[in-house]
């Protein structure tokens, strides 16, 4: 349409919206690009590796579907989580104090992640089988692996501390098992904790 209506281009200001049900921000860290999201009460609901814009959109859509569609980009509500993450990745922090919310996890995942958080401390590790036994499901090590692979709170709930049984070494490289952030990120975290642990 060649009319002036189409050419009407006033200078418009972006709206400034309040912090709402879900606030998120993306952080470039030494282990990868992490999407962090908190609820209005300050509890962390997501810490997820998002290598691409598509992965970021998929997590935001999941938050919209499960928690609330009022999802907005705000940096400030993530300051606390980000500071702890920085300290942890620099070897200055062993235990996170940011409150977390496992609303994105299934009931089974919750039992796995809770057992993990309670039983496997900084600098130590366990196996998929041992964790399965810990939740009284000794035959469910594969399901435990799947549950950890979909951990919505990577790093904060330490699924990187769970390794395959036997820990084979191939070509001088230890097999650390799968990880949402990739095996290099998992190796980085394990090495960091081994080095910094008392």
């Amino acid at each position: 349409m060649s009319s002036v209506f189409a050419e009407f281009a006033p200078e418009v200001r972006r709206p400034v919206l309040p912090e709402t049900d879900i606030s998120y921000a993306v952080s470039d860290t030494s282990v990868g690009r992490l999407l962090l999201a908190v609820r209005s009460d300050g509890r962390l609901v997501t810490s997820a590796y998002v290598a691409s814009a598509d992965e970021e959109s998929a997590w935001l859509q999941r938050l919209a579907d499960v928690v609330s569609p009022r999802v907005l980009h705000h940096e400030r509500p993530l300051d606390g989580a980000r500071r702890e993450l920085d300290d942890y990745l620099a070897g200055r922090l062993e235990r996170f104090s940011v409150p977390v919310d496992l609303v994105l996890a299934s009931a089974f995942q919750r039992s796995v992640l809770s057992a993990l958080a309670a039983q496997v401390g900084y600098g130590s590790s366990t196996t998929y089988g041992a964790l399965a036994s810990a939740i009284a499901r000794p035959k469910a090590s594969r399901a435990v692996g799947t549950a950890l692979g979909a951990n919505p709170l990577c790093v904060f709930v330490p699924c990187h501390r769970v390794l395959p049984a036997g820990g084979s070494v191939e070509g001088g490289v230890r097999n650390v098992g799968g990880y949402a952030g990739g095996p290099a990120a998992k190796e980085f975290l394990l090495t960091l904790e081994a080095r910094s642990a008392p």
Partner: protein, 159 residues
């Protein structure tokens, strides 16, 4: 039903909402109207029942906010100086290097002005324009064509 994260609506439509707000409320109130529209949309968003036309939904809210500002302003003017009301322009013309078309848009009867702005600045179809104005698509068509006739804009060119 799955609603997209609100941030994606802001990113996709903030320019269109601002543009419509400026066209309806003028340069002095455009940004405030747009801000108000976004605030209202955010509050109402979880109750939205269809994702089919979220852009139209946002522009309808923008229109309503512009009309609210407009009405309260008219009341204020009336209170301060009743004599000034008939001569007061309906809306300040947006600052645009055109041939005076915006001044003529501003001088249109209220319904015609709203209809033509929703149609061509908002790029909405007659069904959406009618919904915003609380009327029928046939009436929207009529308001728009009357407006274009009054503006002496070539109707064929606008199709």
């Amino acid at each position: 039903m799955s609603l997209p994260p609100f941030q994606s609506l802001v990113d996709a439509h903030w320019r269109d909402v601002g543009r419509l707000a400026h066209a309806l409320a003028g340069p002095d109130h455009g940004d405030d109207v747009a801000q108000q529209a976004w605030t209202q949309a955010l509050a109402a968003y979880p109750r939205v029942t269809s994702t089919r036309n979220l852009r139209g939904w946002l522009l309808t809210i923008t229109h309503r906010c512009a009309m609210d500002v407009h009405r309260s302003r008219r009341r204020t003017v009336a209170h301060e100086d009743p004599g000034s009301l008939p001569a007061a322009p309906v809306v300040a013309a947006p600052v645009e290097p055109d041939d005076g078309l915006w001044a003529r848009v501003a001088a249109l009867p209220e319904r015609q002005r709203e209809a033509v702005v929703l149609k061509y600045v908002g790029d909405l179809d007659h069904r959406a324009v009618a919904a915003a104005l609380g009327t029928t698509p046939a009436m929207s068509r009529r308001l728009v064509s009357d407006a274009l006739a009054a503006l002496r804009v070539d109707v064929e060119e606008m199709r």
